[in-house]
C-alpha cells in the first residue's frame, strides 16, 4: 500500500514525511519525526497527554488524522522554549511543583499555553476549564492551577 506524502510545519520548521493510511498525528510526530514530547495515554480523547497546538488551537494528536495537518502548523512542547530559556509556563510548573511523574506535563503545558495565548489573565475557573481535558493521575491539579496562574501573573521567573 502506497504511503502518502505529508508536509507541515513542526515547531516552526518545515517537515516532510510519508505516512500509512490512517496514521494518527501522535504516531507521526513520535515515530516518524522523533518528537517524543506528546505522550500516548489513551488513544480515545480521554486524557489529554497527546495535546498539541494545530494552527494555535488545542488538539488531541492521537485523534487527529496525520494527513489533516498538511500545510498547517503543529506546535508541541518541544517547540515552546526560547532557545535555552524555559517558557514562563515551564518555569512556573517547575517552581510550583506542578509535575510529579511528568507524563501528563507535556499535554498540560500545551493546554495551558492554548489558554494564555488567547487569555493572558485568566481567572482560576478559566484555568480549571482549560485543563479539564487533561488528566493528572498523580492528582496534582492544585499545583498545576497555581502554576498557570503564576505564569499568567508573571510571578514565575522567566
Amino acid at each position: 500500500m502506497a504511503k502518502t506524502a505529508l508536509q507541515f510545519r513542526h515547531n516552526g520548521r518545515d517537515v516532510a514525511i510519508f505516512v500509512d493510511g490512517g496514521t494518527n498525528l501522535l504516531v507521526a510526530l513520535r515515530e516518524l519525526i522523533g518528537d517524543m514530547t506528546p505522550k500516548f495515554g489513551c488513544g480515545q480523547g480521554g486524557c489529554g497527554a497527546c495535546s498539541v497546538l494545530i494552527d494555535g488551537e488545542l488538539h488531541l494528536s492521537c485523534l487527529t488524522l496525520a494527513e489533516s495537518v498538511a500545510g498547517r502548523s503543529v506546535q508541541t512542547l518541544d517547540g515552546i522554549k526560547d532557545g535555552p530559556n524555559l517558557h514562563p509556563l515551564q518555569r512556573a510548573f517547575a517552581d510550583n511543583f506542578a509535575a510529579q511523574c511528568g507524563y501528563c506535563t507535556p499535554g498540560m503545558l500545551m493546554a495551558a499555553k492554548a489558554l494564555l495565548d488567547r487569555n493572558p489573565q485568566p481567572s482560576r475557573e478559566e484555568v480549571v476549564e482549560a485543563i479539564s481535558g487533561n488528566i493528572c493521575r498523580c492528582t496534582g491539579y492544585e499545583p498545576i492551577i497555581n502554576a498557570v496562574l503564576a505564569a499568567a501573573s508573571g510571578r514565575a521567573r522567566a
Binding site: M1, T4, D20, G21, G22, T23, N24, G43, Q44, G45, G48, S51, E57, L58, H59, L60, C62, L63, T64, L65, E67, S68, A111, A114, L115, V128, E129, A130, I131, S132, G133, N134
Partner: protein
C-alpha cells in the same frame, strides 16, 4: 492492510464513496473514528473525508438555524447567535475535544456521549443527509432511531427553530467529573409557553436508552398545562416511562432510572 484514506472536495463524491463501501466510515472531527482505529477496529477499512465548505456553513440569522455537520463545538461557542446551544456545547469534552468534535459526528456518538444530539432532539431538529440518491431531510428522532442504518449516509447539516424565549430551553448534563466527564444522564427540554400554557413540549434524554430518546410521557404531562409545581411533579414522575437505560462504568441502569425524574424536576424548576 493500512486504512485507505479517501479525500474529496465535495460532499456528493464523498457520499457516493461512503455508500459504495461497507468498510468506509466518514471521518469528521476524528473523536469517534480515530478512536476506533486506535483500539484496533478492523471493521473500518477506509475513511472518507470531504473538504467541502458546505459542511462548515452556519446560518444563524433567521428564526431557523442551520449548522453544517463539520462545525465544531468550539465554533458553536464562539457564535453569539447560538447562545441557546452554548450549554450543551460546553458540556462536551475538554477544550481540545470541543476544537475537534463536530455537530454531525455527535449524532453518531454512542452512550455516554452524544450530548449535543440530546439538545437537538429536544429542539425537533431536522438532519439533512446526502445519500447515494441525493439529499433528503430526516427528523432527528427518526434519524437517531435508525442510526445503525445511517452509517453509509453523509450528514450535511442539522437545522432547528431557535427557541422563541431563552428560558423555554433547558439543558443539563449529569456527570461524575466536573467540568468534564461522560454522561450519567443528559436532559434537554424545550417548553414553549403560550398564554401561560406549555404548547409543543419536547423533552429529550441521553444515556437513558440505546440512543437519545424523547420522554413522551413527561411531555404529555406538561402539554397544555402551565409550568408549575404540579405539572412538573407529574412530568418528573413520568420521566422514566419508555426508557431502558443500561449499566456502564459511570452508573447502573437502576441508578439512571432512579435519578432521571429528580433531575428533570430540578431542571424544570430552575434548581441547581
Amino acid at each position: 492492510m493500512p486504512v485507505t484514506v479517501k479525500t474529496f472536495s465535495n460532499v456528493g463524491e464523498a457520499a457516493a464513496a461512503l455508500s459504495s463501501d461497507r468498510g468506509a466510515r466518514y471521518f469528521g472531527g476524528g473523536t469517534l473514528v480515530m478512536r476506533a482505529l486506535n483500539e484496533g477496529d478492523l471493521s473500518i477499512s477506509s475513511i472518507v473525508r470531504a473538504q467541502d465548505q458546505a459542511l462548515l456553513r452556519i446560518d444563524a440569522s433567521g428564526p431557523r438555524v442551520t449548522i453544517g455537520a463539520g462545525v465544531t463545538f468550539a465554533r458553536i461557542l464562539a457564535e453569539r447567535d447560538f447562545a441557546f446551544l452554548h450549554a450543551p456545547a460546553r458540556s462536551i469534552g475538554g477544550p481540545a475535544v470541543r476544537n475537534m468534535g463536530t455537530v454531525g459526528g455527535n449524532l453518531f456518538a454512542p452512550n455516554p456521549y452524544g450530548d449535543f444530539a440530546v439538545a437537538l432532539l429536544a429542539l425537533d431538529a431536522v438532519v439533512s443527509v446526502q445519500g447515494g440518491f441525493g439529499a433528503r431531510d430526516i427528523p432527528i428522532e427518526e434519524f437517531l432511531q435508525s442510526r445503525e442504518r445511517q452509517a453509509g449516509a453523509l450528514v450535511l447539516s442539522v437545522s432547528c427553530q431557535k427557541p422563541l424565549a431563552a428560558e423555554a430551553f433547558h439543558y443539563r448534563k449529569v456527570a461524575r467529573i466536573k467540568p468534564k466527564g461522560g454522561s450519567v444522564i443528559t436532559l434537554a427540554a424545550h417548553l414553549p409557553v403560550s398564554s401561560g400554557r406549555v404548547l409543543g413540549a419536547r423533552i429529550a434524554l441521553g444515556s437513558m436508552a440505546q440512543t437519545q430518546v424523547r420522554a413522551k410521557a413527561a411531555e404529555r404531562a406538561l402539554e397544555g398545562r402551565p409550568l408549575d409545581a404540579s405539572s412538573i411533579t407529574a412530568a418528573a414522575s413520568a420521566a422514566v416511562e419508555g426508557t431502558s437505560p443500561a449499566d456502564n462504568a459511570l452508573a447502573s441502569g437502576w441508578y439512571r432510572r432512579e435519578i432521571v425524574g429528580v433531575h428533570l424536576r430540578r431542571l424544570l424548576s430552575g434548581q441547581k
